[in-house]
């Protein structure tokens, strides 16, 4: 693996400039923001919109949202499972959209429909496999450290909402399995007092939950989770220390970069 020094960053847009290329560290002068002040904190935003933009740019500048590099410790196969889960979700949504547009009875009578249903099923299986590995990987990294608590909580929320979504999908199969799950599943929901509003034998109600409400919830929570991951970055190793070689070299460079950035800012 090729490592290199941490390039100078301008993670917040300076007055009169914006855009930084992470690989080369060059700073462009390609436009104006129409505000005063050298950073979003200092900028004099006049409107709610401007203040919101400043708030967002401060927390999630472009080079954090779409990075071209990662800390050197991000070098393990465990990191691919989060992306695997997101990509599985893409296949779930795509196959689910086709199934939804054709109605719940289509896959019983069409070979193409049955194949799309199979894609929906297996993408869900892969989603949960990758999600669970991702979740436990993050647990063993204690990935909530350094202000990443909400990232962990949104990840857990995505996992739990996904379980409910998958459950409603199994109820929508309109076959023997869904019949039995509806009959057996009602007891736990009724015991919890929610069986009337989440009636597993009411196909219309479950259809709405599965194709609209719960996918929106999963999508929103996953999006928030990903944004938080990008905002806070990947958590450093446990027991990482300022004296570690990989920090020392970068730290020296970083101080140089800060100096250079300060020069450019003036």
């Amino acid at each position: 693996m090729t490592l290199r020094e941490n390039p100078p960053r301008e993670s917040v847009p300076a007055h009169g400039t914006h855009g930084t290329t992470g690989t080369t560290g060059t700073t462009g002068t390609t436009g104006t923001h129409g505000t005063t002040g050298s950073t979003p904190e200092e900028a004099d935003y006049h409107t709610w919109t401007g203040k919101a933009r400043g708030w967002l740019l401060k927390r999630l500048p472009a080079d954090k949202l779409l990075p071209e590099d990662q800390p050197s410790y991000v070098a393990s196969w465990i990191y691919v499972f989060g992306m695997g889960a997101i990509v599985s979700l893409v296949f779930i949504l795509a196959s689910g959209a086709i199934l939804g547009l054709n109605g719940p009875a289509w896959y019983h009578v069409s070979d193409l429909g049955h194949f799309v249903n199979s894609v929906h099923l297996w993408s869900v299986e892969l989603f949960f496999m990758t999600t669970v590995v991702h979740l436990w990987g993050k647990y063993w990294m204690a990935a909530w450290r350094g202000g990443r608590t909400l990232t962990w909580i949104t990840g857990m929320a995505a996992f739990l909402v996904s379980i409910v979504t998958a459950f409603t999908g199994y109820l929508l199969q309109t076959n023997f399995d869904s019949q039995w799950i509806a009959f057996e599943g009602k007891d736990a929901l009724n015991a919890a007092g929610i069986g009337a509003w989440f009636n597993v034998a009411n196909l219309g109600q479950i259809f709405m939950f599965h194709i609209i409400l719960l996918p929106l919830a999963v999508g929103a929570v996953v999006a928030l989770h990903v944004v938080l991951v990008r905002m806070h970055g990947v958590v450093p190793p446990l027991e990482a220390d300022e004296s570690d070689a990989q920090l020392q070299s970068g730290a020296r460079h970083d101080s140089d970069a800060q100096h250079a950035s300060g020069e450019a800012g003036r």
């Binding site: 050197s72 894609v119 990987g137 450290r145 350094g146 076959n175 869904s178 450093p236 190793p237």
Partner: protein, 317 residues
């Protein structure tokens, strides 16, 4: 090392995790990773779908039940008439059966919801559907005109007689004081065999149909439906909630939910569902809030799995 010092050390380390990384970096291409992941997971998903497909065991209808197991159907219809079926004694949200709810001490969430989906098993599952026939059996008038006690006595006597009859076959039932019950249940059986009962229970004099609650409960009150589920390893004591028909993996992520139903004290608890739901809620909350829970959040420091994950970093430090 004192606790205070440990806490301070941890705060220092978290400080390093809190600030932007100032160390060495490696090249990373988010969009390239996304594209590669799409291709790899796409091949995997399409491949698994092509090779293994997905199960689609046909649903059971009241018609198929009545034709395959008429004795079970008649026994179930008799229980619905007499108010002795599982649904009749279920409690909220279907009816007000006393002491039927699952509780933990004073906690009675089932009653809290109230009777939101009222089902009178005799009228909704037997008498009502029979009145929709072009020529309803005249014995309906006998049932409607009888007292609750008389109805209960007829249904109980017929239910007992069915249990004692050879093969539980209504044709082998000894003569007795069953009132209109044999005729009513036989008429419902005929209606079901012809397929008319499925539509009547689902639509209830309406054109559109979204709600299968009554049909599902009626099916579940019989033995036939459960026997089919047992053959497909789907019942609760067979880890059923995480299984799928055939050999296809089901909701394996519900393994812990299913697990509790296999062990004491849950197996024999009358309020097992409530206990398991609350336990799973508690465990889910604990895992969600693990960053705040001393002990649970420290396990990753005690068991150094992270040494494997970041072995490259530790080798270079």
């Amino acid at each position: 090392m004192s606790t205070t010092h440990l806490r301070a050390t941890r705060a220092d380390k978290d400080g390093l995790a809190r600030r932007p990384w100032r160390g060495t970096v490696r090249e990373y291409d988010l969009f390239k990773e996304l594209t590669v992941a799409l291709v790899v997971m796409g091949i995997l998903t399409l491949g698994l779908s092509a090779v293994f497909g997905s199960p689609d065991e046909p649903s059971v209808t009241l018609k198929s039940w009545a034709n395959a197991a008429p004795a079970d159907f008649v026994a179930t219809a008799t229980a619905e008439l007499g108010g002795t079926s599982e649904t009749a004694g279920y409690g909220p949200p279907y009816n007000k059966t006393p002491d039927a709810t699952q509780t933990i001490g004073p906690l009675d969430l089932q009653s809290f919801s109230g009777v939101q989906l009222p089902i009178d098993t005799a009228n909704d599952l037997v008498i009502g559907p029979l009145t929709t026939l072009n020529s309803p059996p005249p014995e309906l008038a006998d049932w409607v005109g009888a007292s609750d006690t008389q109805r209960s006595n007829w249904a109980t006597a017929y239910s007992d007689a069915l249990t004692k009859a050879t093969d539980n076959d209504p044709a082998n039932v000894a003569t007795g004081a069953y009132g209109p019950v044999p005729v009513l249940t036989e008429s419902l059986l005929t209606m079901a065999k012809q397929g008319a009962l499925d539509g009547v229970l689902a639509a209830k004099d309406k054109y559109y149909n979204f709600d299968y609650t009554r049909g599902t409960l009626f099916l579940g009150d019989g033995a036939y439906f459960g026997d089919l589920a047992t053959a497909q390893h789907l019942t609760g004591d067979q880890w059923g909630m995480m299984n799928e028909t055939g050999n296809t993996p089901g909701q394996s992520w519900l393994w812990l939910f299913s697990f509790w139903y296999q062990v004491e004290p849950f197996v024999s608890a009358p309020n097992a569902d409530l206990l398991v739901v609350l336990l799973m809620l508690l465990l889910s909350v604990l895992l969600t809030l693990v960053p705040f829970i001393p002990g649970l959040r420290d396990i990753p420091r005690w068991i150094p799995v992270h040494r494997l994950i970041w072995r490259d970093y530790y080798r270079r430090r």
